[in-house]
Structures are given as structure tokens and as C-alpha cells.
Symmetry: C2
Subunit: 258 residues, 2 copies
């Protein structure tokens, strides 16, 4: 009897190939699939969908065994995905792309800045079903034990039920107890700009990003921020087409379509 064909899952992140979150994800996924890891060789948090277009990039094989290969790259997370599609998946794309598990939240507006989300977006652009996973805990030794069973449930679901076209899942988990999962929309939120300033002896000012998170709709119960604040994992189906269709006609009137 032939062995059933195992799916191939590509895994990346933005905290680097050496972070705890990606190791925990790999461990959880290996029983389900052949796993190829292509992740940054150093921390690339906050890199969004950034690409490297005028510098050389490396792709180094760190480990290889039956059904499990690990590469690191000097590129950004999006570079990792593009590079792996070129160098490792030229003929056949992976069945699934997982990005994470990120140390720290990528909910609501954070998804714009997140390279964990950026990598999932790049998978989605290339028609590979993609999921970004994040845990709302920045600590290096964050506890992923509550997260893993839910992540595995979502992964199995996506392997069996394709995500809609040009859409990926952005999944965030609260720190601590997880009561279940909620499918949500992105909350309307932002970071208020605050910077720590340091003045050198020559009077030069250096700015260090600080700031606080401002959820503009804390009362709305259908957002990712609400779910996380109430100890639910938040699944946001996220589109790569950002066109605001609702105002197309209004703007057509304004600009006349000459």
C-alpha cells in the first residue's frame, strides 16, 4: 500500500530562525506534513512587506533530514518567501505557508507594520494558502503551550477547506488562558506617536520609538482587539486587495474619468 501523500508546509517568521515561537510551530507541524523552514538569520520585526532589491542575499541550509529542511536567509521575511519560491519551490508551490508564531501582537493596525503578516501576504499574492500566527507576548521565552492546539486546529481546517481567493488568515492569540476562537474584523486602532529623546553632548537629538496603543473602538465586540482582550484567539481573514470599492463611484464623479 502506498503511503498517503503528506502536504508540504513552508514556515517562516520575523523573529529569526532561532526564536522560540518558530521552533514551537515547527514541532507542532512536523507530525502533519513535510516541513521546509526559510526564515531570517536575524530579527526582522517591523519590516512589513519590505523587500531587498539592490543588495545580495544569502540562503543557507542549516539542517536536513527526511521530511524536514531548515534554511536561513539574510533577507526580510518577504524576501525569504520570494527566494524560497524561486530556489526551492520552482515547480510546485508548498501546500501551505505558516508565518510565526510571532512574539508579540500583530492585531489591527499592527498588521501593517508586521513582517510576520508581510510574509503571509506574500504567500497569498502567490496563491499559496497562508496563515500568520502571533502571540501577544514579546518575551523571548513566551509560553506557547496554550496556543499550539488552536494553531493545529486552524492549520488542519485550512488544509481541508481552502481560504477564499486572495485572502490569508491573520491569527492572534492572547497571553495566558485561551477560551476559544473568534472570527473577527480588524479593529480601528493606531499607535500614538511618542519618542524617547536623547541629546548628545553636541546637542544632537536621537529619537527612539515609544508610544502607546490606542483602540478607537474598545466597545465593538466584533474586532480582533475585543477578542484578544477577552482571552479569545482572533482570526481575521485579510485581503491583499485594499481598494475601497464603496467610494469608487463617488470618486469617479469627482475626477470625471476624463
Amino acid at each position: 500500500m502506498e503511503k498517503p501523500i503528506r502536504p508540504t508546509i513552508l514556515i517562516t517568521n520575523d523573529d529569526s530562525v532561532y526564536s522560540k515561537g518558530i521552533c514551537e510551530l515547527i514541532k507542532a507541524v512536523r507530525p502533519l506534513a513535510n516541513v521546509v523552514v526559510v526564515a531570517p538569520d536575524h530579527v526582522r520585526s517591523g519590516m512589513s512587506c519590505a523587500i531587498t532589491h539592490s543588495e545580495a542575499m544569502r540562503l543557507s541550509k542549516l539542517h536536513e533530514e527526511e521530511g524536514f529542511t531548515v534554511y536561513s536567509s539574510s533577507g526580510t521575511p518577504v524576501d525569504c518567501i520570494k527566494l524560497s519560491f524561486f530556489a526551492l519551490f520552482k515547480d510546485k508551490r508548498p501546500d501551505l505557508l505558516l508565518s510565526g508564531i510571532n512574539h508579540g501582537s500583530n492585531s489591527s493596525v499592527n498588521s501593517l507594520y508586521s513582517a510576520t503578516v508581510g510574509a503571509a501576504m506574500e504567500g497569498c499574492v502567490n496563491n499559496v494558502p497562508s496563515i500568520a500566527f502571533s502571540l501577544c507576548d514579546h518575551q523571548e521565552d513566551a509560553d506557547f503551550s496554550q496556543v499550539i492546539p488552536y494553531a493545529v486546529q486552524i492549520i488542519k481546517n485550512v488544509l481541508n477547506h481552502p481560504i477564499p481567493y486572495a485572502t490569508f488568515l491573520n491569527v492572534n492569540f492572547p497571553k495566558g488562558e485561551i477560551k476559544g476562537l473568534k472570527v473577527c474584523r480588524q479593529a480601528d486602532a493606531r499607535w500614538s506617536e511618542e519618542y524617547d529623546q536623547k541629546i548628545s553632548e553636541y546637542g544632537d537629538v536621537s529619537y527612539f520609538l515609544a508610544g502607546y496603543f490606542d483602540n478607537r473602538e474598545p466597545e465593538s465586540t466584533d474586532t480582533d482587539e475585543w477578542a484578544l482582550a477577552h482571552q479569545y484567539g482572533a482570526i481575521v481573514p485579510t485581503k491583499i486587495d485594499m481598494t475601497n470599492y464603496d467610494c469608487l463611484n463617488e470618486l469617479k464623479d469627482l475626477y470625471g474619468n476624463v
Copy 2:
């Protein structure tokens, strides 16, 4: 008689404060408004919404005269916007944010990678009406003369007719003749991953991003790519909420909302 209050326009880009595109935009806008420029001190193309979160940033005043101030920053374009809101616009936001004019296309999928677009997105997150302008010509000495009258028309429109909430305009112009403006949706497109490879004498492989642009729907006449290919300026109203609302209910069934 009091002087009429002039609007204040914040200008940034990702090609650096020294590029031709931003200089042409500044020249066109100064008759309309007080202008504050905060732009990167070196090229930051392809940086998307990347932020600098663990390094110091500088903000240096390069020029000041009545109604016109120029700063450069060592940060990314999104950093430039955040930093300017903190250091220069603490009490009152600018009336408008312009990003560009970029040397090179930021249409369809390019908008994901573009820091010109990223900066406009950051303005939008902070409720400042924002427009990203790009010309489909990478050359350093690209000719912006056709672009400027259309850009000014769009800027005047936006000053008089607010853009819908949580939406900004991503505007691309074709190289050469411009026949008019079209309000469009983002085309479904991607870059095929191709890399130039160089092998060192030690056998190390370096990868350099190459690839070609693949418009998956060249026949659709309502996209930005179609408009540009037919010598029209393409205006895409772009949302920062990327939730795919169409599949929320379907996914709720799948994940049970336990």
C-alpha cells in the same frame, strides 16, 4: 484684512529628500500651501510600512524660510511621518500628506512593497488626508512635467472634498503622455520570483532580486494597470482595513466561534 489661512501640507517620499520627484512636487505645491518636508536622508525604496523600533533616529533641519521647512530623517518613510507628527505636528496635524512623486510604479501589488504608499498609509492611520503619487519611470532624471498639472488638480480636489474615512489615494501616472485620470481598483497582479545568482570562488551563492511583472487580468478595463497601459493616471482609493468582510460568516461557521 486678515490673510486667508493657508493649508499646511506635509511631504515625504522614499527616494530620499534629494530626489527629483519630491523636488518637483514641492515646487508645485508651494504656491498652494505652507510646506513641511520630512523625508529620508537616503533611498528607502521597497521598505513598505517598515518601522525602526530598536535604533536611534535623527531628524535634521536642512532648510527654513517663511512657509517652507525641510527636514531629513535617518528613519524609513513611515518613521518620517510618525516622527514628524511627534516632533512637528503635536498640537495640530497637517491638512494633507503627500508622498512622492515616486520614481517608479506603485500600482496594484507594488503598493504592498512601496514605502511611498506606506507613508501615505501611515498618514491615513492618523486621520490625515493622504495621497501617494508615483510615476512609472525609474530614471533619476524622469520627466514629471506631464504629471504636475494632474497632481495639482487632485491635491486641490482633496483639500476641498475630504477622502472617505480610513482611506487614502494611491495615484500612479504613466510615463509619457497622460490622457486623463481614471478612478480604478487594484489589478490582480504579482511579481514572478526570479533572481540573478552569483557564485563566489568559495561556492557561496548570492541572490539578487530580478523577476517580471505578471498582470493576471490584462483584459479588465477597471484596473489601475489597464489605466496606466492606456496612458491614464490611475487613482485607487485604498483602505487600511484589509478585513475580507465577504467571507466572515463562512469562516465563522468553520471555526464555530466557540
